[in-house]
């Protein structure tokens, strides 16, 4: 047993489908979470983010109005954001590798393709707790490092050329 105190976390679940929200909330409650906030769209999520300042966000991609990706970009880069480092776990029915890349490039920490399962949700939670990635700020990007490889594995100036495409970093598990 790992003994995580999920009851100490504030978790925001954002999905415009009430059934999926209920499913995720039920699973999180069974894990022991009690401070769970829900939002049915990006605008309400943004307001709730500023009110509740959650520790973790489960976020749907495809929503009416502001998409999940738009919200991720706001959280990471807006001057109004309460926490640009908040871990974001993106839940989505999109499964193509291009979508994984888009999510990664927006600043998502973990990607969870539907259908969801209890174990998949737990594994993403454990991943953001146990394996946080460094953050990167460049001219065009702010968010978690888009490479899973630990920084101490740097192998010289040709590293990027040698490991050019690594979208599997987020698709794995």
């Amino acid at each position: 047993m790992s003994g995580y105190r999920f009851d100490r976390l504030k978790i925001l679940v954002v999905d415009d489908n009430q059934h999926m929200r209920k499913l995720v909330v039920t699973i999180l409650q069974a894990f022991g979470a009690i401070q769970i906030f829900e939002a049915a769209d990006g605008q309400r999520a943004w307001a709730m983010l500023r009110e509740a300042n959650p520790d973790v966000i489960f976020l749907d991609w495809q929503m009416d109005g502001m998409s999940g990706l738009d919200l991720v970009k706001m959280i990471r880069t807006s001057s109004q954001t309460p926490n640009p480092f908040v871990p974001i776990i993106m839940l989505t029915g999109h499964t193509h590798i291009d979508h994984v890349r888009q999510a990664r490039d927006a600043g998502v920490n973990e990607f969870l393709a539907k259908p969801v399962s209890v174990r998949a949700i737990m594994s993403r939670l454990v991943a953001v707790i146990e394996h946080p990635r460094p953050y990167v700020r460049t001219k065009g990007y702010f968010g978690p490092c888009r490479r899973r490889r630990p920084m101490d594995e740097y192998r010289g100036p040709e590293r990027r050329a040698a490991t050019a495409e690594e979208p599997k970093e987020m698709a794995a598990t």
Binding site: Y4, L9, P134, V136
Partner: protein, 164 residues
């Protein structure tokens, strides 16, 4: 020679770890079992949830048929996309596959006014029948034959082939 902007890399404090306490990092099997039990309890509602989404899909189709514009198209796509993502969790894997086929029609490559309504209707009719007959496996032969035909028709439509 232009000066490159620096790349700043830093590790924020691990607030999550500090909050949830030190643990082994292994999967908490007791928590998993509690959640799976909660899912079992929730299963009694799955049928109603899928039924509600199938009804909404039909209503979205009607709005799209009446006024095929980006708004009704997006609405239909989002609902089909929801079913694609969650119908398997709610024990209707064939509905998920049929909905996935339907979303391909709305992937942005076809102009809204060229999306064949007859093919949209064929998907929705198939989804309704799977739900009506409570087909909860991914191995039902008739459902597989139907969805394979739908997928082939969608491919044809996306290639610009004339539909029957």
């Amino acid at each position: 020679m232009t000066k490159q902007l620096p790349i700043e890399i830093f590790m924020p404090p691990n607030i999550l770890k500090a909050k949830v306490g030190s643990a082994t990092g292994a999967i908490d099997m007791a928590a998993i079992q509690r959640a799976e039990l909660a899912m079992e309890t929730l299963k009694t509602e799955f049928n109603d949830w899928v039924g509600a989404d199938v009804e909404r899909l039909g209503a979205c189709r009607d709005r799209f048929a009446e006024k095929p514009d980006p708004e009704t198209r997006d609405e239909l796509f989002r609902l089909a996309h929801d079913l694609k993502g969650q119908a398997t969790t709610f024990e209707y894997p064939m509905i998920a596959r049929m909905a996935a086929s339907l979303t391909r029609l709305f992937d942005g490559t076809k102009p809204t006014d060229t999306i064949p309504l007859s093919l949209v209707d064929a998907h929705i009719a198939a989804i309704r029948i799977v739900f009506r007959d409570k087909v909860r496996t991914a191995t039902d032969r008739i459902s597989i034959a139907v969805v394979e035909e739908l997928e082939a028709r969608v491919t044809d439509a996306l290639l610009g082939n004339v539909l029957d």
